[in-house]
């Protein structure tokens, strides 16, 4: 006898590697994944894992991925039951989540109430404080004027951090060492926040110098029961955007007590606010192993892969099941164990030294990876990378029973990742994977500035590589 199970139609409202990732999860669960593509994504690779797809007419993000009117039209016309927003775009837009709820469409993510609470950094911090989590000193809520902000900064002492309350991805974020620096940064942070999030409200917080950025993955069921999936270390960042992540954290290392306390805090917060899907509680961990609540991300994150690799649990599948009211089948926290170590390198099309995005056309793409490598990507030969989207084109993930094995595999995987035609940060990752500080696991968020692996990227004109490239092209043309 087969089990009767209703197949849902899930709209995958994203692009690139995460859309493929969601498509795979939909298929696995026996649902129909409905992908979308815009007018300038004629060669969208993510559709490969969608069972159906819909054209979202228009070119800019505003006309397509962010156009709720158009999206609800698609939802109605194509009998969509649920929407998976992925990350970015509408994933943390509580208005959109609320509209879905009102129309009886399942939003695959937390409820609009949770998103709204956590999307405002001031409210999130207040909730964390109430839940008993350690927080950083800073402004009580939003700060309206620069005068008021300067006063708050004087009270808590420099350096301070200006943060957009609606912030994310490093936008609207400024570190200020002195009052003078504060004044110049205030306006630009406001402008960037307004442009990126349509909300220019800012908060002030004490800035911890060279902290570790540790985050705890959590999953809450509709019954309010929350599980954690251990931590991720995301301290290697440029412009406050992560480029290398790993799990578990080498800084926490064997300090099981610290790990347990941080994980418990994350669960405590989720249960306190009656959280109801996947989320990440971010902490700042200083050199003396004091940790402070930073923010909570109410979406699946780019770096969820490393957690999946060490726990063996498919988080995208879990969040979909929770949202659809299906059984996830995790009996207890003890059941979630971690084994070994996983590292993720974000592959971005950018100059490996200046880290400036470098869009262009991929003229060749092939891989030959070591055993057990995972490469979530949207690359293919002839892909045109436009400046409209994020420069990340893939996530290379390796794992090993020991950290050094994961690193060894990553070195080999980076060698086997062949991307031609665009500048990528692969040479930078290669230097990081060979770097002593990284290998010892003794890095903090200042790594790219302090250790500056960019300086060690070999930039000599590689004649042998060019000979090979030309010969390859000629051989192909000659008909070999």
């Amino acid at each position: 006898m087969t089990m009767a199970r209703e197949s849902k139609r899930i709209l995958i409202l994203n692009r690139g590697e995460i859309a493929s990732r969601i498509g795979k999860a939909c298929r696995e669960l026996g649902h129909v994944g409905v992908g979308v593509r815009t007018d300038n994504e004629r060669n969208a690779t993510h559709l490969e894992f969608c069972d159906e797809w819909v054209q979202l007419s228009g070119k800019s993000n505003k006309e397509t991925y962010l156009n709720t009117e158009k999206i609800f039209k698609v939802i109605a016309e194509h009998n969509i039951d649920a929407v998976h927003p992925g990350y970015g775009f509408l994933s943390e837009n509580y208005d959109f989540a609320r509209m879905c709820e009102e129309k009886g469409i399942t939003f695959i993510g937390p409820s609009s109430r949770c998103i709204e609470l956590m999307s405002d950094k001031a409210n999130a911090k207040a909730a964390a404080e109430k839940a008993g989590l350690p927080i950083l000193p800073g402004s009580k809520g939003k700060v309206a004027t620069v005068e008021e902000a300067l006063k708050v900064s004087d009270e808590i002492g420099y350096p301070v951090l200006i943060k957009a309350t609606a912030g994310g991805g490093g936008r609207g974020l400024r570190v200020c060492m002195t009052p003078d620096e504060f004044k110049t940064n205030w306006e630009s942070a406001k402008r960037e926040a307004e442009k990126s999030f349509n909300d220019d409200s800012l908060i002030i917080e004490k800035y911890v110098i060279n902290p570790h950025h540790i985050e705890i993955q959590v999953l809450s069921g509709k019954d309010g029961k929350t599980f954690h999936f251990y931590e991720r270390e995301c301290s290697i960042q440029r412009k406050h955007q992560k480029i290398v992540e790993e799990a578990p954290s080498p800084f926490i290392g064997t300090d099981e007590d610290l790990r347990k306390r941080m994980c418990e805090c994350a669960v405590q917060l989720a249960e306190h606010v009656k959280y109801d899907n996947i989320g990440t509680v971010e902490f700042i961990l200083d050199e003396n192993k004091n940790f402070y609540f930073l923010e909570m991300n109410t979406r699946i994150q780019v770096e969820h892969t490393v957690t999946e690799e060490i726990t063996g649990i498919d988080l995208v599948v879990c969040m979909t099941q929770v949202a659809l009211g299906e059984k996830v089948g995790i009996p207890s926290q003890e059941w979630i164990t971690k084994v070994g170590h996983a590292i993720e390198c974000r592959i971005c099309c950018e100059d490996p030294i200046t880290l400036i995005p470098s869009p262009g056309k991929v003229t060749a793409f092939e891989t030959s990876f070591p055993q057990g490598t995972r490469f979530d990507n949207c690359l293919y030969k002839d892909l045109e990378i436009t400046p409209d989207f994020d420069p990340m084109v893939g996530k290379l993930v390796t794992k090993g029973i020991l950290r050094k094995i994961a690193i060894r595999k990553m070195r080999s995987a980076l060698k086997g990742l062949l991307i031609e035609g665009i500048k990528t940060n692969v040479p930078l990752h290669q230097v990081i994977m060979m770097d002593e500080t990284f290998n010892e696991g003794k890095y903090a968020t200042n790594y790219l500035d302090k250790v500056a692996p960019q300086k060690d990227v070999q930039t000599d004109f590689d004649t042998d590589r060019m000979f090979i490239k030309l010969a390859g092209i000629e051989a192909r043309e000659a008909g070999l």
């Binding site: 092939e366 989207f389 994020d390 031609e420 040479p427 930039t459 051989a475 192909r476 000659a478």
Partner: protein, 174 residues
């Protein structure tokens, strides 16, 4: 056959690859010999082998160790780590190089959100000149050398294509 590699940023940097000889060694293997010229002098000569096995291409310099290479058609440009080279086969179009030196070219398409300098501003290497917003990031474009701003060809709010001359620049004479 001659290949020209012209650095997209610094037109003076140019490499010439001459295919001196190519030969079919078997239906599955070819050999190629190249000479590399820089400033009209041969700086390197090399012979290499390409073979195709199971639909994949492999290269070797010694016919002992083979390295997988990606299939690609002749591209218009080639990247070496952090430099982009325009690739020309057979002949090089005239009009390359010349007055571009000293100017600030947009290295990516984007939108100008802020300009810090005015004509006649004297700047030092590393001084911020303008902000080019691209790929959702504000990228501060800095002066590549000491000098003086001659002319600013863009204004705040302009959307620019890659390769557009943003600022005319006068390099400081030593």
């Amino acid at each position: 056959m001659r290949y020209y590699f012209v650095n997209k940023k610094d037109f003076d940097e140019e490499f010439i690859f001459d295919l001196v000889e190519s030969e079919w060694l078997s239906p599955e293997m070819m050999s190629f010999a190249y000479a590399l010229l820089k400033d009209n002098e041969v700086i390197e000569k090399k012979k290499l082998y390409i073979t195709k096995t199971a639909g994949r291409y492999f290269s070797s310099f010694d016919m002992v160790t083979w390295k997988k290479i990606p299939r690609q058609d002749i591209p218009r440009h080639i990247v070496n780590i952090n430099q982009e080279y325009s690739l020309y086969r057979g002949f090089k179009p005239s009009g390359l190089g010349g007055d571009a030196g000293g100017g600030l070219l947009a290295q990516m398409p984007g939108k100008i959100t802020e300009i810090f300098v005015k004509p006649n501003t004297v700047v030092k290497k590393g001084d911020p000149l303008l902000i080019l917003e691209a790929m959702k990031m504000e990228n501060v474009i800095k002066a590549q050398m000491d000098g003086k701003i001659k002319k600013i060809n863009v204004k705040v709010g302009d959307t620019v294509e890659k390769g557009v001359m943003l600022i005319d620049f006068e390099q400081k004479e030593d």
